[in-house]
């Protein structure tokens, strides 16, 4: 019988001092929606290519229009590039994203990318015929501890389903791309958090969604406190190999250089949970704003755009918000995940809410 799960703030705990958005979610950024498709099938011994399956896909939809026709300004930062995310070179060159952003298990990347192409072709039948091709963006972590990775069980219909499912209510924990993920020795996966910044009477939102799959038990740090006594764990020092994908969204008017500065702050939130970003880690951050959409069919040779003053308080708040929301999203990914049994009967326990309360809630 599994313990009821809670988000960090439902336990009366929080990261930092900044205010949160209404849902404390990346979907607090107006227009952003998140969808999951979760695949849990079979149990027992691994039969490569057949199962058991503990995987899925998560999509972040940056706005509700035609994303190919109205691209979003974006950037990325590779903290540690032992990762297979696709789409990054064009994000860096053009400073924009023109597709749904998908997250999944490592070996699923190609089929998920192909499904995203299908999805956008449907909406834009001129792609590759009368207009340019499309750069789809997919990130990944390795769910092979619990899942039959070789099977690449996420198929086109699952991706389309995830897109259809997308809403403002982000389920967290072992869902979607997070289904098979593990962090700090506990079940983890998807987590999200947001920060609200009010400057000169205007309200801005920055939201973070993580796919969390990193960290050794002995390093787990919650709100500055080590979660385990040294003697409670017996891992070898070299074991940390996991990864994390971080997606940062905001509605603040930013250019791609500013968005990269924001992306570079996410690792500061990651490390506050205890990781030193090991050699075998794929820590990749994608950041975007919904504020200055770039029209695919724009014909004029120049145009007006709005931009944040980097020397203003607002920009500094955005950097801080990224650190805080990343840390909190990771903690939510742990707190909301249920115990799961996967291939070869390997079992990853959920982190104990009781223990968190005991240690951290006074």
């Amino acid at each position: 019988m599994s313990e009821k799960r809670f988000r960090l703030r439902e336990l009366g705990l929080k990261v930092g001092k900044l205010n949160i958005g209404k849902l404390n979610s990346i979907t607090d950024v107006p227009g952003v929606k998140v969808g999951h498709y979760t695949i849990i099938e079979g149990e027992g011994a691994l039969i490569p290519g057949k199962g058991p399956v503990r995987t899925g896909v998560t999509v972040i939809i940056p706005h509700q229009g035609n994303i190919f026709k109205e691209k979003i300004v974006a950037s990325s930062f590779v903290m540690n590039g032992y990762g297979k995310a696709i789409g990054l070179p064009q994000i860096q060159e053009l400073g924009s994203i023109e597709s749904v952003i998908a997250l999944t298990g490592t070996l699923n990347i190609p089929l998920v990318a192909d499904a995203l192409i299908d999805y956008h072709l449907e909406e834009n039948p001129d792609i590759g015929i009368k207009t340019s091709t499309i750069n789809v963006v997919v990130g990944e972590c390795n769910d092979g501890y619990l899942n039959d990775m070789q099977g690449r069980h996420v198929r086109k219909e699952h991706v389309i389903e995830a897109i259809k499912n997308a809403s403002s209510n982000v389920e967290e924990g072992a869902v979607g791309a997070g289904t098979g993920m593990v962090s700090f020795g506990y079940k983890a996966g998807i987590g999200t958090s947001s920060r609200k910044i009010v400057v000169e009477g205007e309200e801005y939102i920055l939201g973070v969604l993580v796919l969390s799959n990193f960290g050794r038990k002995k390093d787990l740090t919650i709100l500055g406190q080590k979660f385990h006594h040294e003697h409670e764990t017996d891992e070898s020092e070299s074991k940390e190999k996991g990864s994390i994908m971080v997606v940062v969204a905001t509605n603040t008017p930013l250019n791609s250089r500013q968005l990269q500065r924001i992306a570079k702050r996410a690792p500061l939130g990651i490390t506050r949970t205890g990781s030193f970003v090991s050699w075998g880690s794929g820590d990749i951050i994608i950041s975007f704003t919904t504020a200055n959409k770039l029209l695919h069919d724009r014909k004029d040779h120049k145009f007006e755009t709005e931009i944040t003053n980097e020397t203003s308080k607002l920009f500094n708040f955005l950097l801080k918000a990224t650190v805080e929301a990343t840390e909190e999203a990771i903690l939510n990914s742990l707190l909301k995940a249920n115990t799961m049994k996967g291939r070869d009967d390997k079992k990853i326990e959920a982190i104990s809410i009781e223990k968190i309360k005991k240690i951290l809630v006074s």
Copy 2:
């Protein structure tokens, strides 16, 4: 009836002064093999997803062992990142490549990547189960002018076939990934060239293979000479949008930083054919050496490796060889390609060998 095609040197022409390898091909680098699979099906009006098909896949096999278990030291350089190549972040982070390198049409990338996963899983059934996952590398250009891109007609069996076909004899022109490509208004595609450098009695090879799909007719420059009089062409200035993928291979002992310096010279060869690398160009270079293979299962904590002295004549020669071989490979991709008719009866002529002779061969 199509004109007989010749490589540049078969016309008595050449780029630069450095010596070439035996085959004047990337496969002069010992162990490197190249394979193509070409798909030409249907004709007439485009039926999106159905055809006509003018596409394919080209694979560069860096050595004849198990590439996942014996990785090659590598780097990359993005000259202009309007491109969808996958695998680059890990190449940069780890300085290595662990898969066959494939080239194809843009929208084929995911399915070709998935096929490469299949291929390497077959050889390495422990991937994703007992050992890490695999970073596959695929580059692309847009073959949509002649081809039904939306159909993504390159499938797993074609990739496997291309790998099986791989040999030292590199077919050039409108084959494999080059099937539907166009450069400077002429049919182009795959081209290759190499340079041989002898230093202190030791012989080194640097070879280049290009997938060439860029340039406006009016800019074409062969060995320093404009190929057209101004009045012969009527393109608008803004038209250049094509791309090029360049793969540079060598057997010189280099580290990844040195290989990136080499990769950065390829655009100098590209521009000598007349391109200014337009905004819509995906000009991406991948470079590798077969000299210092990295063992996947290495257990020692340090090891000896050989490295080129960057201040030596050898390193400078490698830079120069890259420029020369890139320029010559592009010219070969044009000279060897036959006229092709594609979707909607669009026809791209082969460049005239007669005209080249007339202008350049005295």
Copy 3:
């Protein structure tokens, strides 16, 4: 008796098809001014630290206001980083320049930088007291073949004098920072060129200034033609070690990412003169626009700015203009430089105008 010198267009020759600005100079960009201070003292044997002196400083003044208070949007690209230019990290982070840009001989960099600090402190006495410090930008090439580099003979008063001297009329050849420079075995130094682009009735200027100090005699290529027969030169292959600094200015509204794309095209112009950018080369490009000045004392948290549509003809023209103007600026730096005798009676001849006419002017 030295031969009269001419710019490329004075010989009836030109690079490319784009139109030029009024002066065919970086100073065609409204507000941009250039000043030199040239130091030629002593002759005969080198006495390290004493002379002979063949050096100087060149300043590019981006606009006629207070540059620290009205920063310019900027970027840079390091084609080959065997160079000592200072100020680059902050240009990349903030996408802006806040000082006069100076060029000089390599070892002079620190004293020239210190002089720029003096200059800007004078105008902005609050720097380092009530407001932030200043990031000064200085580039260099090595003038040690002719000059007593160790003496670091450029002093504060020379830099201030160069700034006072600045005007729209850019002297070219062996002046200012170019005094001791050598390219392709000939005397070289400062050169400039510009391109004018008219789009939708609006006129934009892109101008380039080079400090040219690279290339082997045997590689010199003028408008696509080799300048020497093979047998005329006897250099060893490994000799190329020189450098080039390129400054690209425009009045087009661009952000720093777009300016970096522009900076990346300058090497394409460099290579068309025959260089392969050797291992020992410091090829560094700085690009800026005068269009979207950033106010140091801006207090609002966001603001409107204008930006070029990258998919428009205008942006493509800017890329092409960079390639063309860089090539032409280098040729001007050669054509305008007079023969010079330097330390240890070493003499570098001016390139023969007669020979250029003979070869290239029909």
Copy 4:
């Protein structure tokens, strides 16, 4: 009467579990020495250019040979490039450092760089005459809160003196470059720490030295615990503007790519003290190894070198060591610094050792 100062471990506290070197200092890396020159002159109202002076210079000497002739393999990482460090482009291109590394106050950079040129010319009279020039490396933080920055009071003789003073015993706190620095509202400056790693019977050292000048009082976090209650501080959120320079040294055989991976971990240690790396921060990391010195006069075209296996435990330990030693070095920079009064009678208190004991030592 100032409170006696202690290093973190003298209070019975420590960061992480890894062992430390003999001195817990960057100088535990064999051959590395550190020297300071401290300038404290005048008091009272600021007279720009005259004083009061609270500044200095710190030098890190990578080994005891001729550094220009025996270069060290190196890299750097710019976490936030609002900084003026010089020498970085060549470090990245060539993967090496060939000079003493100096740290100082921001505006002192040029004169300190010029002094380093003097120092190395003395030892290498062929520089700029018979051999190439030299790339000197200087980093900085802004000491203008306490110091007359405009005066640029660090002169050549001070730099030479610091080099002469260099030893294994690193004085910490308000000395050398750290003289005028402030972190988290407390006096700070120079701090150091090291980690010792034993693998297969071989011992490796990684040491860190920081010049610490960043952070707001309210954010200070010591070993995971906030140092202040919210109500104790009243700073505005936007105030954080400081910087930090981090130098990481090791004797492990690494190439420059591996050293950059190490450099990228230092910000993880920085953030654990409470910083989010604000927009106005110059956070720059330089990393080097003493293991694979590169001979300036090397004539062979290739050579053997040793390299760490990145998939080994050793490499992971180095990453972790960087995070731990950076955090501890920052804490030492605070704990060892004495209260200082500077320009305009501004006073920065030393952090209270008593309070640290009370909060952290049980």
